[in-house]
Symmetry: C2
Subunit: 222 residues, 2 copies
């Protein structure tokens, strides 16, 4: 971990404020360092997430090595082109303006993985739903994201990659699944509107569209 120390005490951040300010960051990273105590709080937040059978099946690989991050970025940009090739017309034009990663600029990548062997063989709560452990890892990611937001950091989840590439890059064992690459670092500011909405890719839907009562309401695809 970095040895820089923060001069700020642990911030008192209102949950609802953090939930509203949290953004998926690509462009706003300053490249500054994350103080060690801040990073420790953010990782502690992730590690305090709920998990099926208290299995805590997550791992966090902190990637500072620049050549590793540059290699990952090259792969991500190639996958960006794969997706771009599927698009045409207005979708292609809109996507061409959208940045999908801040891997080098952010200074720190956190690869989050899922280890299904943690707590096995009898993981309480997983016998009927094999993916329950994977779900736990995502809960830890959201804790991390919110704590980082409270600390004035930005987080950007990059998903333009092949799991096998990331596994080889970071020497992740074959039984362990990469779940996310998070770009994490100080930011100038957080955007008020999500990038994808600002660029016209897609709008946020009203809450009413996704709330049902007692039975799932069939409707038009959205």
């Amino acid at each position: 971990m970095t040895t820089a120390r923060s001069t700020d005490p642990m911030p008192a951040a209102d949950l609802y404020d953090v939930l509203a300010r949290r953004r998926d960051v690509r462009s706003e990273f300053t490249g500054g360092e994350i103080p060690a105590d801040v990073l420790h709080r953010v990782l502690t937040a992730a590690h305090s997430a709920p998990s099926v059978g208290l299995s805590q099946p997550w791992d966090f690989v902190l990637v500072r090595d620049e050549s590793t991050r540059r290699a990952f970025r090259e792969h991500v940009l190639a996958e960006r082109s794969v997706f771009a090739a599927e698009l045409s017309g207005e979708r292609a034009d809109t996507f061409s303006k959208i940045k999908v990663e801040g891997i080098v600029e952010s200074g720190l990548g956190i690869a989050v993985t899922y280890d299904p062997d943690r707590g096995s063989p009898a993981v309480l709560g997983r016998h009927a739903i094999a993916d329950a452990g994977l779900y736990s890892v995502c809960l830890a990611i959201q804790n991390l994201w919110l704590a980082a937001t409270a600390e004035g950091l930005g987080v950007g989840w990059v998903s333009f990659y092949r799991e096998d590439f990331l596994r080889r890059l970071l020497d992740i064992p074959s039984g362990v699944r990469p779940v996310a690459w998070l770009c994490v670092g100080p930011v100038d500011a957080l955007a008020e509107t999500p990038d994808l909405e600002r660029h016209g890719w897609r709008r946020r839907a009203p809450l009413e569209d996704v709330v049902h009562h007692d039975k799932y309401r069939r409707g038009e695809p959205r």
Copy 2:
């Protein structure tokens, strides 16, 4: 939604405090009603989660109907027995003391689902990782869990069920996947220690065990 109104304003809850107090609740539900404005804030928190390609692929089925909740509970208890039958010795004894659901006591079930067609066919960020949409749903669940904790509610994620059973029970379309059943309601208190740790099922691991630097560190299975 319930028409009861809360007399309290929106609570100012510190994020780190909420992260630490959050528990997976089984036994502490009072059976009280959730005020409509409180439930609206909790669902709004869930709906403000990040999602791949801004697809917002989640739905929330609010289940108040008691016969539906009782039918689900019967199914869950049967699945509890399926898991119990896999155990022997100390594991069987320890599990016998552990409550796995509060479906009827909590007063409200929230079934959370994943719709892969939301925003399709070209979901930005999902071409290489099909499960990215499923991950988004879990981020929404964690937002919901934290907001509920801030509001003095308990949440208990039940995962002793078969997805097909829940799909039929709530009339969920075949292309939509049930991800969670959350028991939600007012609680007497939140336990200081997770139930599974208190009952001796499993202990929380130190953060150091799950943090790696630049490469995944191979170690003993934990």
